[in-house]
């Protein structure tokens, strides 16, 4: 059965723009693990989100999502520090394909352009987004809940575009 799409138009637009992406999971020992995201792609029916990670940075997290199948990802727009967190399950891993690598390259360009006006150096921004194609892993999951995560009293509030079924 097709999972209900929970990603609203606003959420979709936000997570695919020049946001910083950080991902967390944990093992059966409940110790958290993290990794950076280098791009985000949402399936046409919005039932799956694919994040691109650096294999060499994400060893523990890749292990944890396979064993524990829980994931949380936070997306933050540097210009405003507004942020969303999406939690989900049904994680699958694969090599990044050509289309995925194009998403990663596009995201890096957008991110660099987005942080330069904030006073960051180009050398920093490009170094921060650097990822080799052979080191790129595609991690897909089914989103279950979307949270407002902009720092403030409203952080952690579930947004309406969550699974209600």
């Amino acid at each position: 059965m097709q999972a209900p799409a929970i990603i609203s138009d606003a959420t979709l637009a936000f997570i695919e723009r020049e946001v910083a992406i950080d991902v967390a999971s944990c093992g059966l020992d409940l110790l958290p693990s993290t990794a950076r995201g280098y791009g985000c792609q949402v399936a046409a029916d919005r039932s799956r989100i694919t994040l691109f990670l650096k294999r060499s940075e994400a060893g523990q997290l890749l292990h944890d999502v396979l064993v524990h199948d829980r994931i949380a990802a936070v997306f933050c727009l540097p210009a405003t520090e507004s942020a969303l967190q999406i939690k989900g399950r049904a994680v699958s891993l694969s090599l990044a394909d050509v289309a995925g690598l194009a998403v990663v390259a596009q995201h890096a360009r957008q991110f660099v352009a987005g942080v330069l006006p904030l006073g960051h150096e180009r050398t920093f921004a490009e170094a921060y987004m650097q990822i080799a194609p052979a080191d790129t892993v595609a991690l897909s999951f089914s989103p279950e809940v979307v949270f407002e995560q902009t720092p403030g009293p409203g952080a952690g509030r579930p947004l309406q575009d969550q699974v209600t079924a």
């Binding site: 910083a20 991902v23 059966l28 409940l30 958290p32 993290t34 950076r36 949380a72 967190q85 170094a127």
Partner: protein, 451 residues
């Protein structure tokens, strides 16, 4: 097992927001951004607790977290695996983070929303480094600041007296640290306030202006005896208008010097106040500011605190030496310069005994201990035609009612000398030797005791 995170301090200036990952007891991960990661020591960090959110629920139940910090120059990132230990709700660490958060709140439009409830202290037990492969120009090593610090320390060490020490500190900050706006304040123990003795980089020097203990960035640094550093503009910790307003609200304004405005930048974006300590005793506060965001880092804080410690001991030592040194042995004394021909206009020196305030005609000069000293000097000059004085004899004058703490006299004399200079008053105090000075009077004086 502990690690050393000292080399990562520059990644904790807030240039790149840090995410924290935690885990609920049911195995659900959570990841959110932090307002602030504060370096505490080689193996501890502190994080802001502002709201009872999911992160906080998780760490109270299961105290393990992963915090990412990023080098804002190289793009290298570091994962700190940390264990929550405790929450501090008062004291130096709390105040340091509260002040910094006020700057962040102001910078991010969160004034009135961001309020620090506690400083959550974590022990870092593992660091994973992901070093950027980018080809970047090399950064100076942390040790590169040591020769500068040594130079600064040597120059302070060469100060001949307290007046010189104040000037040397401000010169060192400007020449070696490119800090153009600075002031040095002395603690008045009895009145629980700080008074400005020296400043640099302001249109009005503000010598003699006062700040109550615990108010603004300077007052908090003094009360908590800890450096307070803010990297963005914030009205909450402005030491000028806001300090006056909060002091007024607490009924303190009557006790404060309010006629002399505090110096300060209109558009101050970075502030650093470090306590000047001699052992456990607070001497005063060194304060620097800048119109740039993120101007002062952890290394600046270290350097200024080290210099302030040296300053504290030197100032204390100079005051003690002056207190015990016999006048005859106080070193070589220059002859008093000839008195210039007095001008035609008589200047009334008006003295109000209630608060020891002094006016030259209708122009306010100073009050308090410095006012009482000035009145005494003018009285001796007019009644006995005396112009030469020693710090030591002033200390021994019973009718001055000086505070028992000797460094207050020395600092008050420096303050008075500078205030007269700033006002281009018709009376000036010129040094003629260590602990000695002469009055240089350019107009005839008429002392008037007003009550």
């Amino acid at each position: 097992m502990s690690v050393d995170i000292t080399g990562l301090r520059h990644c904790m200036e807030g240039a790149i927001p840090s995410p924290i990952a935690t885990c609920a007891l049911d195995g659900t991960p959570n990841i959110a951004y932090l307002s602030q990661v504060q370096y505490v020591d080689a193996c501890h960090i502190a994080l802001t607790f502002q709201f009872f959110n999911k992160t906080r629920q998780n760490i109270l139940q299961h105290p393990h977290a992963v915090v990412k910090v990023v080098d804002p120059h190289s793009g290298s990132s570091y994962r700190l695996h940390a264990r929550y230990l405790r929450t501090e709700t008062s004291g130096p660490l709390f105040e340091k983070m509260k002040a910094k958060l006020a700057g962040i709140a102001s910078h991010t439009g969160m004034v009135g929303i961001f309020k620090l409830q506690g400083a959550d202290v974590y022990e870092v037990n593992k660091v994973e480094a992901f070093v950027s492969a980018a080809q970047l120009p090399p950064q100076p090593s942390p040790a590169a600041c040591l020769p500068t610090l040594r130079d600064a320390s040597n120059r302070l060490n060469g100060s001949g007296d307290l007046d010189d020490l104040f000037d040397t500190l401000l010169t060192v900050l400007r020449e070696l640290y490119a800090i153009d706006h600075a002031m040095v304040l002395k603690l008045d123990e009895a009145r629980e306030c700080l008074f400005t003795v020296a400043s640099a980089g302001y249109a009005q020097a503000g010598i003699g202006s006062e700040i109550p203990l615990g108010h603004g960035v300077i007052g908090v640094a003094a009360r908590e005896r800890t450096p307070i550093r803010i990297s963005h503009m914030t009205s909450e910790y402005m030491y000028g208008k806001a300090v006056r307003a909060s002091a007024a609200a607490q009924g303190l304004q009557q006790q404060l010097e309010t006629a002399i405005p505090l110096p300060g930048l209109e558009q101050c974006r970075s502030q650093l106040a470090v306590p000047i300590l001699a052992g456990s005793e607070l001497y005063g506060v060194l304060y620097v500011e800048s119109p740039q965001d993120l101007r002062f880092g952890y290394d600046d804080e270290d350097a200024l605190q080290t210099l302030a410690n040296q300053f504290g001991w030197m100032a204390r030592g100079m005051a003690c030496q002056a207190a015990v040194e016999p006048a005859a042995a106080a070193g070589h004394s220059l002859p008093a310069p000839p008195l210039p021909e007095l001008g035609d206009s008589l200047v009334q020196v008006r003295y109000f005994a209630a608060d020891h305030s002094v006016f030259l005609n209708d122009d306010y000069l100073i009050k308090g201990v410095a006012g009482a000293i000035f009145w005494k000097l003018v009285h001796c000059y007019c009644a006995e035609q005396r112009r030469q004085f020693s710090n030591r004899e002033l200390r021994l004058m019973p009718d001055l009612g000086l505070p028992e703490i000797s460094d207050n006299l020395e600092a008050r004399l420096v303050l008075l000398q500078r205030r007269l200079q700033e006002r281009q008053a018709c009376v000036q105090m010129l040094k003629t030797g260590r602990g000695r000075f002469v009055l240089q009077v350019s107009q005839p004086l008429l002392p008037v005791a007003e009550g």
